[in-house]
Symmetry: C2
């Protein structure tokens, strides 16, 4: 049994800039048994929750979202950066530490009342996840839960997404 996923997450100081410790999941996903364990743990939690679609954010989110969607048997809906999705989209623009960013979802991604699981690799300050939730609400989706592989608790991202239940496989309480 692989219980301590943290052992497989590489910590890289000063990336992408000084003072930040980057949590690198490439060392987790390249170990087949560990990647499978992470997906299976999520599948245990969501298999019986009648999820219609997993919404994931490019690009690391796709890695976990697509594998879990296959396993629990639901569709995959991508949220992408501005201009990447080819059809009619809803968009949400949000503030970053420096500047702003825009995320988009296809307007016909799913119908109202569909049950949506949001899955991303990382919860940091919560800005991206807030935008994803707002996009799903524009389409009338019902959010079952918002799940992360890693949560950086000390950044208090949960505070920005109090309207939805949150679950994380791994938590860090400091840099």
């Amino acid at each position: 049994m692989i219980k301590d996923l943290k052992k497989y997450i590489r910590s890289i100081p000063d990336f992408p800039k000084k003072g930040i410790v980057f949590r690198d999941i490439t060392t987790l996903i390249k170990e087949k048994a560990v990647f499978k364990y992470a997906i299976d743990e999520l599948a245990k939690r969501y298999r019986d929750k009648k999820v219609d679609y997993i919404v994931s954010v490019e690009s690391r989110g796709f890695i976990f979202g697509a594998a879990l969607a296959y396993v629990i048997g639901c569709g995959v809906v991508p949220v992408r950066k501005k201009g990447k999705l080819p059809y009619d989209t809803h968009s949400v623009t949000y503030d970053l530490e420096y500047g702003r960013d825009t995320l988009e979802i296809h307007k016909d991604a799913f119908q109202e009342k569909k049950r949506i699981l949001v899955l991303d690799d990382l919860l940091a300050t919560g800005g991206t996840t807030r935008a994803v939730i707002d996009l799903i609400k524009k389409l009338g989706g019902e959010i079952v839960e918002v799940a992360f592989v890693i949560e950086l608790e000390f950044l208090k991202g949960c505070g920005k997404i109090k309207d939805v239940p949150v679950f994380s496989l791994v938590k860090y309480d400091s840099e």
Copy 2:
């Protein structure tokens, strides 16, 4: 049985620019049975090929690569745009129609002689795939095959990757 995957691929004229017909896989991956069928077809082909790692390119490639890796039981290795991977990387720069692009792989992504399946959503002119193959060769990987969900045959991308076997689930012989 869902045999005609093309029925689930949306064609969008003039995206990302005039004269191009974009093949949109978001309509395929949101249908759970169709997404599963596509992954299962790939799994049938590669399950017994002793694949150690699937190498996929951000970001649509991750969707298929990660799900297939889970199913056939191998690791996932991402190839990303310049500056996205946090650890030491090899990089390859290649020409696009306008300008150039750089792709990177972690230097410690896998060991020499490992058996690698390359999986991406689309083979167009082959420039990106050529770069991915060159990155894998820098690490001494043995390429089992290069697989695509969609191949745009009329763009003759195969001509750029003659040194490896190529497989595609769906082929288009014209725009």
